[in-house]
Structure formats: structure tokens, C-alpha cells
């Protein structure tokens, strides 16, 4: 029996289908990356696993229990960090620890929080406010907060996509190192196939939206620890990368045709430049069709 399971999950917003027939099963201790275009519904997918959204049809189960609401058993790292700006690094993590382990003594909580701050190498920034930290540091706080909750599963929603390339690489190594320490079940959403292949056990492409669905699941059989430089020459890496990208491009190709049919004309009525513009005889300025209040109908007598 799979640890996390999504069965025929669909979700639409305002009549527009975002995700369709999502089937996914993840074993305990597995690191799965889901890669897709921005706007394809990746965040919607992870929000449903987190319980922030409910699927329209199908169900999401963790340990055979249906997920109906968010909870601290699923640690989530949001794309935009979601740290509370009025709390320091320590307080942000403590808020989570307080909530997950209410029976611990204050000393034990402090020790626990500090352990995770150290794990993401932020001990010197312990008492800083989020606005005093760089994007990469903020995201590390967010990771530490999620891990400190000791969740059954860690959900990473494009955690590194707002960062510059160098910081991103450093944090990828850090995520990889932390994962090797505790082997938590991880679902990571990303828009970068390389990142997914470098970090995960399995990579699944998501087709382009609307109505996105998961593509074939590709097993990544590159031994750990992986070497960032060597991996680029690994034939298996190249092959996976090619398959993921090709699959995504193909799905996008189909999409283009579908979208072209839905093209809506702009509602601006342009200015007629052929009429000379003089002080007396003013040319009509461009206007929105929606703002036209009077319509003139000319009838031949």
C-alpha cells in the first residue's frame, strides 16, 4: 500500500479545469519531483496534498487516511517563504514547534529549534527578522520550520525558484544533504527538470494546463551522493532530461492549438488615423467597446 496516494484527482477553478485525472502513489521515504510549466497547476496539486484545497473529485490519502484539512503532519515549504515578518528566525520556527509539541519543556523546544537552525546553517542569523535576510536565507528558515515540525511528509512548492542560480545550486546541495540525513518522504514541485533529476528518486512531468495531468513516472537510478559536476556527463541523466523535456514540449504543442481557438479580440476600438486631426475637427480617440454607451444605427430611407 502506498504511503501517499492520489486517485483520479481533478480540480477546476471557475469552470476552468486546472488538473484532471491525477494519479500518483508515493512510497515512504521516497523523494519525488514533479516538474511542470508555471501556471500548469503545480501549486494547486501541492495545495491539495497539503489540505489547503479540496479536490473536486477523487481523493488524496496519506497512510490510508483521507486528507481533508491542513495539518502539521505535512510540512510545507512555500514558494514565497511565508515567514511571519514580525517574528525572528528563532520565533518563526518556535511557533511551529510550540504547535506540534505542546507538551515539551521550554528548554527542549529551544534545543529542538536551535538544532534545526544549525542544520540549515543559520545559527548566526538566529535573532534576525526575515526582512534582514536574503532570499536564500529566508527559504532555509522556511525549510527548517517545516523540518522542525517533524512531519510525515515534506512538501516543497517550488522552494528554490525565486532564487538566483548560484544560491539555488547551494540550496539544492543543502536539501540533498538534509534528505540523506533523515530520509523523509518528500514531494517537490519544480519548474527545472535538472533540479528534479539531481535531487529526486523519481521525476514526473506535468503536462501544460489547462486540464493538466501527470505524465509517465521516470525512475532516477543515479547513485547517491550525487556529484553536481559529474552528473552532467552521466548518460542516464542526459537521457532522463531529454525524455522529461520532450514530454513537456509535446504536451505544450497540443495545447497551442487548443488555446488559439479561444483567442478573444481586444475590446479597444482603435483611432482612425486616416481622418486628419485639426483643432476644429477632432479625431475620435481610441476607446473601449465596453464603455460605449450609445449605439447609432443608420437606416436607408
Amino acid at each position: 500500500m502506498a504511503f501517499l496516494e492520489l486517485k483520479n484527482v481533478s480540480k477546476s477553478f471557475g469552470g476552468l479545469s486546472v488538473l484532471k485525472d491525477i494519479n500518483l502513489s508515493i512510497e515512504k521515504g521516497e523523494f519525488v519531483a514533479i516538474v511542470g510549466y508555471s501556471g500548469a497547476g503545480k501549486t494547486t496539486l501541492i495545495s491539495m496534498i497539503a489540505g489547503l484545497l479540496r479536490p473536486d473529485s477523487g481523493n488524496v490519502t496519506l497512510n490510508d487516511l483521507e486528507i481533508t484539512a491542513p495539518g502539521p503532519d505535512r510540512g510545507i515549504v512555500f514558494q514565497n517563504y511565508s515567514l511571519l515578518p514580525w517574528l525572528s528566525v528563532y520565533e518563526n520556527i518556535l511557533l511551529a514547534v510550540d504547535q506540534c509539541f505542546p507538551n515539551w519543556s521550554a528548554a527542549k523546544k529551544t534545543e529542538h529549534v536551535e538544532k534545526y537552525i544549525a542544520m540549515v546553517n543559520l545559527t548566526p542569523a538566529r535573532d534576525k527578522k526575515p526582512r534582514e535576510l536574503s532570499g536564500g536565507m529566508r527559504q532555509r528558515v522556511s525549510v527548517a520550520r517545516a523540518l522542525a515540525m517533524d512531519p510525515q511528509i515534506l512538501l516543497l512548492d517550488e522552494p528554490l525558484s525565486a532564487l538566483d542560480a548560484l544560491t539555488r545550486a547551494t540550496l539544492q546541495d543543502e536539501v540533498s544533504r538534509i534528505w540523506e540525513q533523515n530520509h523523509k518522504t518528500v514531494v517537490m514541485i519544480t519548474n527545472d527538470p535538472d533540479e528534479g533529476i539531481y535531487l529526486a528518486d523519481r521525476i514526473i512531468p506535468l503536462t501544460a494546463g489547462p486540464g493538466a495531468t501527470l505524465g509517465p513516472s521516470l525512475k532516477i537510478e543515479i547513485p547517491r551522493p550525487r556529484d553536481r559536476k559529474a552528473i552532467n556527463h552521466d548518460p542516464h541523466f542526459k537521457e532522463l532530461r531529454k525524455r522529461v523535456i520532450e514530454f513537456m514540449l509535446d504536451s505544450k504543442g497540443h495545447r497551442h492549438a487548443a488555446i488559439a481557438k479561444k483567442l478573444v479580440l481586444p475590446e479597444i476600438e482603435p483611432e482612425d488615423l486616416s481622418i486628419p486631426h485639426t483643432f476644429v475637427n477632432r479625431r475620435r480617440v481610441p476607446l473601449r467597446r465596453g464603455e460605449i454607451k450609445r449605439e447609432t444605427v443608420e437606416v436607408d430611407s
Binding site: 484539512a69 511571519l84 515578518p85 514580525w86 515540525m149
Partner: protein, 264 residues
Amino acid sequence: MNQSALKKIDWLLLPMIGVAVVVILWAISSATWAKELPSPLKTWQTSKSYILEPFAKRGEMDQGILRFTWYSLILVAKGYALALIIGTPIGFFLGLSKPFAKTFDPIIQVLRPVSPLAWLPLGLVLFLSAGKNASELGALFTIAICAMWPTVLNTAVGVRAIPQDYLNVAKVLKLSRTKTLFKVLIPATLPYMFTGFRLSLGIAWLVIVAAEMLTGRPGVGGFLWQEYNALIYEHIILCIVTIGVVGFVLDRLMSLVERRFKTA
């Protein structure tokens, strides 16, 4: 001339030029078209004793100007506190609950522009049975009801502007309602709340003068009205200047507090 000296001119000399221009216009006006308007010099001579002995008490309505200011400030403080205590929770409810907002927003929009001069008689009537305290309670009622609107509206806007991210954090952590309120909602709304508090303080100070004028309580406004009736016009100007300076100082103090609470 170096840079810092130039800066000093900017914020010290230029405002003084502004004051001088107004005083000169005042002097010209009192000498030409407004014969009843006391000249600046005369105003100073007549008001001197009130300014130089600011805490003197010669009689109920004949006290140093700071003593009057002190009475006014105490009344404002009480009414303002009342406005915040009532206004902040109303603002929170308006921001949190759509049905609540739909129910009460129209009536708030109708009551908000009503002048303090209109509320005061109602306040006096409400507390008629309080006898001796009727004027104080009526004034408090007026200050509270006029000053609370900016707090109510700004708090409501602040609550609605809380980023979904923060609420998601609260949901994922399964924070209880009270914990969400104190750990997320209130801190996230504080900057907006303080903008409201500052605007409310400005209004409270506006209202106090009107309230004192109508009730005849000792204070800057009461003194102003009494001196108008006693035909000592110099003291009207003294009161206007005092009210303005105090209002300015209050606003500055509040903006310092406000800046302290600006997050991110």
C-alpha cells in the same frame, strides 16, 4: 557654506520665514481691514501672563494655558481610549466577516460624516440622569463616536489585506482561533491599525474643542468660548495657536509610534 549648514537652513530658517509671513499678514490685516482683530503685539501683551505662568490657577475659567491644555488632554485621552477599545474590535469583525461587513457597513458610512456638533446634544441627552457628570459623559461619548471611525475602517482594511501566505501558515500549523488572532491577525494588521489610531487622535483633538465650547467645561476650547463672550479677542488667538501646536505635537508623537510598528 557646507552641506549640514544648508540643511539647517532648510528645516529651521524656512519654516520661520513661513511663520513670519503669516504674522506680517496678520499685522497688516489688523491695521487695515479687520479693525477688530487684535494685532500680534497686543495679543502677546494680553496673553503673556497665561503663557509665562502656564500652570497658574486664578479662577475656574482663568488659568494658565498649559493647565487648560492639561484638562483638555485628559478628557481627550479618556474619549480616545474609549474610541480605540470600541473601534478596534468592530474593525476586526468588519474585516473578518463578510456578512457582518455587509450588515453594518452602510450604517457606518452614514454615521461617519456626522459632525461632533451634532452628536454632542445627543450625548448630553443620553447622560441627562448623570446630573453633574452629564457634560463630561456627553463629551466623552462625542469624542468616542467621532474618533473611532478611522480606527474601525483602517483596521478592517488591514485585516482584509493580510496576505494569504500568513493565513496558510496558520492553517498548516493548525493554530487555534485565539492563537491565530494573537500570533497572526493582530501583528499583521498593526501597521494599518496604527494609521487608524493616528487619524483618530487627530479627530479626537478636533472634537474636544467643540465639546468644551458647547458644554463650557474648563479647557482650551471652553476658555476660547468664554473669552469670546467676554470680548477678549486676543485670547481667542492664543487658544487657536495652542490648539494647533498641541495637535501638531500629538500627531508627531503618534507617527513615531506608528513607525515603530511598521513591519516589513
